[in-house]
């Protein structure tokens, strides 16, 4: 799947929006040196990286979660993954092969 950096940046914006809308997600985190950041002309999206893997795309979403005593990280990550995959399927059907979720921070 060939996508230029402008398309990837736009896709990353939508995917980041989907992730942040999941209850329990406080925000997106790109990492200290921007490891999980999508760069493109005129902007960047911290906390989302879209990489080409063979014919399809691989998305990494890096989030900060809200801590609560009944927090279940696996379940939260599953919801983020489904939300991101759903938006990806709407925007670029059958293109995103896998969505990796990294929980990098917990916020009270």
């Amino acid at each position: 799947m060939q996508m230029d950096s402008t398309d990837r940046l736009e896709l990353a914006r939508f995917l980041g929006g989907a992730a942040i809308a999941v209850p329990g997600v406080v925000g997106l985190r790109g990492g200290r040196s921007g490891e999980v950041t999508e760069y493109g002309p005129g902007g960047r999206v911290s906390g989302v990286a879209v990489a080409a893997a063979a014919e399809r795309l691989q998305v990494t979403v890096s989030i900060a979660a809200r801590y609560s005593p009944d927090l279940d990280l696996a379940r939260l990550a599953g919801r983020v993954r489904r939300a991101v995959q759903r938006v990806a399927d709407e925007r670029v059907p059958d293109t995103v092969e896998r969505v990796d979720v990294v929980v990098v921070d917990l916020v009270t």
Partner: protein, 189 residues
Amino acid sequence: MNILNRVLVILFTLLVIAASSLVLAVTLELVAPQRLRVPLLSDVLEPFAELQPPPQTVAIAIAAGLLVLALVVLIAELTPPARDKKLTIKKDDLGRVTVSENGLRRLVDREAALVPGVMEARSELYESKQGLRVKSRVSVDPGSDAPQLTDQVRDRIKGALERHFGRVAEVAVDAQIEPLNRKKRRRVR
């Protein structure tokens, strides 16, 4: 910063290092501009060779300052950032779910702090072939039953890690009466 920006910064700092080194060498009369055999460079550096104090001292100070600054930036750019280790919670065909060691440490500390009587908690995590190991230090209320509290904290952390990772972790808890930032004086296992 992406790779292109990083390469540009590295090239710029190398340029600054070269320029400031040349200015220093010429101003300190270590090298004569004519010996550089690059006409344009010789012309540019010629005025520095003719400087007398105090302008000479100012030029040396500025060139040395720029050299040091450029070296610091270059070292910072070339040093790989310390990576926060990731622990895998789940992996399947759809993707991988990981949690950073820092994130997990915060989770463990918060779970420990939820036990009544625990004032503060600080934990360290180790992942080995045998599984996840947690070493937690907690500061407890002086009026509390420390050994009982230690067991409660251990059970709480174990329960939380089993819930998130679905696997049992080895948890060791040290309790102390004093705040954690002070040296340990009394330790209760």
